[in-house]
Amino acid sequence: MKRDERSFRVALMADSYVNPAPGGVDGVVAAAQLGWGVLQLPPDDYPPDLVRLLLYEVAEQAEEFARHGYDLVLVGHCEGLAEALARVGVGLPDGTAPESSVQLLEFLVDRPVPRAIAELGERGG
């Protein structure tokens, strides 16, 4: 597959970082700044059955990224995520619950090069 602009880096991000309260940590700005994609986790205020349905879809998408060697991280917490990921054979990724944008940026910057990029390099992609 031809290499395009994608980063091969995806942050599973709690809703509170995608839609931060005033003064909260803005995960989308940090992701945009460092070239990470965001896979948003369901908001806490949805009914539990709806959260389960949405997590089911999140997990299937995360599995596809994991299988192809994209770097996955977790930003924040989400009840039921570990179980949803386990259903598709994916463990809970490395994570952080940053209290400042600096903490989040440092966490993302410190990540290793995704396996997908290394493999593309080997194939001359």
Binding site: M1, D4, S7, N19, L34, G37, L39, Q40, Y46, L53
Partner: protein, 179 residues
């Protein structure tokens, strides 16, 4: 202000079909406008990612329009329609932000070519773009209307269209948000 249900790839270009990512991750030209105007963002699942995978080929509606893919889209749409129902019940304004030209996520422009198939070999170009909704958006419309709600206003990212103009894309999005 309200809630914008956005196509997955607007927050995550890593989900795009190969050679289709316009930037590394977050597609800021759309997301920034939503943020500036105070809209809450909720990401919809990418129907093609989980169904056909990251190594899928570029496709048109006719290639995706199978009973199995419609069932998949209907399952995703049911969850999103439930989410829309919750937000509408809270009195929120709702908009859907899709991807123009997409066989799945197109909101007013999709792609169609009944002859396309077999060994992937076709010239570059946008002759396949036609008026209409993508398959997922059609299923979402059914699911939303089935719940007794009016289908929300729509806007779309236009990068795949010939003559894409970011200023025009922004103006169209602002017009939908400000309606």
């Amino acid at each position: 202000m309200g809630v914008a249900f956005v196509a997955h790839c607007l927050l995550n270009q890593n989900s795009k079909v190969g050679d289709g990512a316009h930037c590394a991750g977050v597609y800021s030209p759309i997301i920034d406008v939503l943020r500036e105007k105070g809209w809450r963002i909720e990401q919809m699942p990418c129907p093609e990612l989980a169904f056909s995978g990251l190594n899928r080929f570029w496709g048109v509606r006719e290639q995706y329009d199978t009973a199995a893919y419609r069932r998949h889209c209907a399952r995703l749409a049911a969850a999103v329609a439930d989410a829309i129902t919750v937000r509408a019940g809270q009195g929120e304004e709702i908009v859907i932000i899709g991807v123009q030209g997409s066989p799945s996520m197109g909101v007013t422009i999709t792609s169609s070519d009944p002859t396309r198939g077999g060994r992937p070999e076709w010239p570059d170009g946008t002759a396949e773009h036609v008026s209409g909704e993508g398959i997922y958006v059609e299923e979402l419309r059914k699911a939303v209307e089935c719940r007794g709600l009016r289908f929300p206003r729509v806007a779309g990212e236009t990068h795949a269209l010939a003559g894409h103009d970011e200023t025009e894309q922004r103006a169209n999005l602002e017009a939908v948000l400000d309606t």
